[in-house]
């Protein structure tokens, strides 16, 4: 088992961008059947950080009086982590982060620049170039990337506050496909490593935490489960179990 250079902080908190979190599970707000279910699942997961995407306000829906995410998500209870989902080049990702900054929810962003819609695999070049610009502009960049240890190191060198290698492609539920690569990434890392994407079920979370990652980010694994609230609860326990076992 690879040893991580990071020693647990006092009280064993996940430290990101100057914030200390007790929960090492970061959960997405997308793909739930209903907003009420999302609220219940997030609560059951015990998470403190939730991701959101940025999109145009649906002006027609507003006219119809339809509710949206912010009518349900308690933004005082959670740390909101905006992502750059839907961006396929660095310019768009940078623009989305600058927009996110004007929401005044903090400077932490999940940088995600995908290469294509079909596989949803990250574009390493665009991601790295966007990271360099965003770090210079003062963002706390949590960089989503492949499980390539070289890219992980380059992102860290570029100033990413955390590097987030995928376990497997977004939404695939294939779990941690290459634990050896994750172990190599951990061995060389001087910033928190958070597995993000591909987590399918509770054991995947436990496996990731046992490897020594600082946290796990997931969305489909909970939102797409038959019983999201139970899965959220299971993943919370799996996250704690994996951390203790490590």
């Amino acid at each position: 088992m690879a040893e991580t250079k990071l020693s647990p902080a006092k009280g064993d908190k996940l430290v990101l961008g100057g914030h200390a979190f007790s929960s090492r599970l970061l959960v997405g707000t997308g793909k739930y059947a209903t907003f009420d279910l999302m609220v219940e699942a997030l609560e059951a997961s015990g998470c403190e950080v939730v991701t959101v995407a940025l999109r145009r306000v649906d002006l027609d829906a507003r006219k119809r009086g339809e509710k949206n995410l912010l009518d349900y998500l308690d933004t005082s209870k959670y740390t909101i982590l905006p992502n750059t989902a839907g961006c396929f080049n660095k310019e768009d990702a940078i623009r989305v982060c600058r927009l996110a900054r004007e929401l005044e929810i903090g400077d932490m962003v999940k940088l995600e620049v995908l290469s294509e819609q079909k596989t949803l695999l990250p574009d390493p070049i665009e991601t790295l170039e966007a990271a360099k610009v965003l770090v210079k502009e003062g963002f706390t960049v949590l960089a989503y990337t492949s499980d390539d240890p070289i890219m992980a190191r380059k992102l860290e060198d570029a100033g990413a506050a955390a590097v987030m290698p995928l376990g497997s492609p977004i939404g695939s539920g294939l779990g941690i496909l290459n634990p050896n690569n994750i172990a190599i990434i951990l061995e060389q890392a001087n910033v928190p490593i958070i597995v993000d994407a591909g987590v399918g079920t509770a054991s995947d979370v436990c496996v990731a935490m046992e490897l020594g990652v600082e946290g796990v980010l997931l969305n489909t694994g909970i939102a797409g489960a038959k019983d999201p609230v139970s899965m959220a609860r299971a993943m919370r326990q799996a996250c704690e179990a994996g951390r203790l076992a490590h």
């Binding site: 997405g28 707000t29 997308g30 912010l70 996110a100 005044e104 980010l217």
Partner: protein, 66 residues
């Protein structure tokens, strides 16, 4: 004046600034970020950002995502 807001061309009488537009759209300032002609508008400057005929405005908010 005529503005393209979130991809749609509409007439907005009584709108002079980005802040006016948000009021006209009945959108809460705290929930959105705004771009005018591709430039991100600082929230503190919404009321001082003038809009002109034919401007393209994007009003962006948080939605579900992973």
């Amino acid at each position: 004046m005529r503005l393209r807001v979130n991809g749609r061309d509409e007439e907005y009488p009584d709108v002079k600034t980005a802040a006016d537009l948000l009021s006209a759209l009945d959108v809460m300032r705290e929930r959105v970020a705004v771009m005018v002609n591709g430039d991100v508008v600082r929230r503190a400057l919404l009321a001082e950002t003038p809009l002109h005929e034919g401007d393209t405005v994007e009003v962006i908010t948080m939605v579900g995502g992973g």
